[in-house]
Symmetry: D2
Subunit: 135 residues, 4 copies
C-alpha cells in the first residue's frame, strides 16, 4: 500500500541500516496475507464440502492472526529489537508455509485457496528476505 | 489490494445484493488506516515532543484496533448479519473520525499525522458509504 | 483477571468519574468472551456436523474480533473519548447478542456452544452496564 | 479463566497427548499478559516522564500483539501443527522476555511496570513450559 511507504518515509528518527524496500514489502505482504486468509477461511466455510476443509480453515485463521501481529510489529521502529523481530518473522514464515502448503494442496479445486496460497507464499518469501536482510 | 477483490470474486456462494465496490473499498481502507495508525503512534513516540502527542497516540491505537477488527468482519460473508455489520461500521467511523480530527489538528507540524489523518478520513468515508449501501 | 484491577489501580492519572467495577468487569468479560468464541469456532470445526454450524463459526469469529478490540480500547484511559467508547461498546454488545443467540440455539446439542453462549451473554450485559454507567 | 478450561473440556475430538494443564496455563497467561501490556503502554503514556518510557511503550505494544495472537493459536486444536505452535511460542517467549526486562528495569519507579513485568515473566515461563511439553 502507498501508505506503508509514506509512513516509513515520515518516521522522525533514524531507521538504522534497515533494508527499507524489504521492510515495506514484508509489511504489505503480511497485511495482504492476513486479509486473504481471513477471506479464505470464510470461503471454505461456505463450500458444500466444508467438512473436508476444516484443517484449511484452522490454518487460515492461525496464519491471519500471526500475519496481522507481524505487520504491526514491523510497523514500529522505536526501540527496535532485532531478536524480537527475527523471532516474530520466523513464526510468520512458519504460519505462511503451513497455510500455503495446505491451501496449495487443493488450489486446483478451490480458486480462493489458490489465491490464498499465493499470498501465503509471497508473505513467507518476504519474511525470509527480511530475516536475511536483518543480518 | 488486488487480493481483496480476488478473494471476493471467488467466494463460492451468493453475496446477496451487497455493493461489491463499496465493500472492497471499505475493507482496503480499514487495512490501510490500521497500518497508518499503528505507524503514526510509533512515529509520535519518536518525536521529541512526545509528551504533547499522548492523546494522538492513544487515538491512533484505538483506531488501529477498531479498523483491524472491522476489516476482518467485512471479509466474512457466510451467515451475514446486517445489524452487526452496521454496528461495527458505526464504531469504525467513530474511531476514524476521532483519530482523523486529532491527527489533523497537528498535520502541519507532523507529516506522519497528515498522512494518517488522510487515511482516517478515507476510511471514515468508506464506512459511511458502505453503511448507506446496506440500506 | 486480578491483573486487570491491578493495572487500573496503578494508572498514574485521574480516571474521571468512571465506574471502576463496571469497567473492570467489562474488560474481563470481553477477554473471556473472545477466548470462548475463538475456542467455540474451533470446536464447531471439529464436530462431524460442521456443515450445520457454519453460521455459528462465522458469528464466533466476528464476536472474538470485536470483543478483543473492545477489551483493548477499554484498557486505555489516556485521552478518554466517551463517544468512541460508547460506539465500540454498542458494536460489542451487538456482536455478543448475535453470537449468544446463535450459540444458544444449539446449546443443548453442543456443550461448547452452551458455555460460549453464557460468556457472550455475560459480555453483552457487561457492555450494556458500562454504557449505562457512561451516562 | 474458568472458561479456558471449560472450553478445552468440551472440545469434541481427541486432543492428542497435549499437556492440558500447561496449555490452559499458557492461554490464560497470554491473555493476562496482553491485557497488562496494553494497560501498561497506556499508563506509561500518562506519566509525566513519558519521553523516558518510549521504548517501554513500544515493547508493551509488541508484546500485547504477539501474546494476543499466541492465545488465539493455542485456543485451536483442529488440524494441530506442532511446528507452527512451537514457532509461535518461541516468538511469544521472546516478546515476553523483552518486555519483562524493559518493564522490570523501571519496576521500582512505576508500579504498573512492576505488575506488567510479572505478567510478562509468568507468560514467558508458561510458553517455555509448554514448548518443553510439546517434546
Amino acid at each position: 500500500m502507498t501508505v506503508t511507504a509514506d509512513m516509513l518515509d515520515t518516521y522522525p528518527k533514524d531507521l538504522g541500516g534497515i533494508d527499507r524496500a524489504a521492510l515495506i514489502a514484508c509489511i504489505d505482504a503480511c497485511l495482504e496475507c492476513a486479509q486473504a486468509c481471513t477471506a479464505c477461511a470464510d470461503a471454505c466455510l461456505s463450500e458444500d464440502m466444508v467438512a473436508e476443509l476444516v484443517t484449511c480453515i484452522r490454518t487460515n485463521l492461525d496464519c491471519a492472526d500471526v500475519c496481522a501481529a507481524t505487520g504491526r510489529v514491523l510497523s514500529r521502529h522505536t526501540g527496535y529489537d532485532a531478536n524480537l523481530t527475527r523471532a516474530v518473522l520466523e513464526a510468520c514464515a512458519a504460519a505462511c508455509k503451513a497455510c500455503g502448503d495446505e491451501c496449495g494442496s487443493h488450489a486446483e479445486m478451490h480458486e480462493h485457496c489458490r489465491i490464498c496460497a499465493e499470498a501465503c507464499r509471497r508473505c513467507e518469501q518476504a519474511c525470509r528476505t527480511l530475516i536475511a536482510a536483518l543480518g
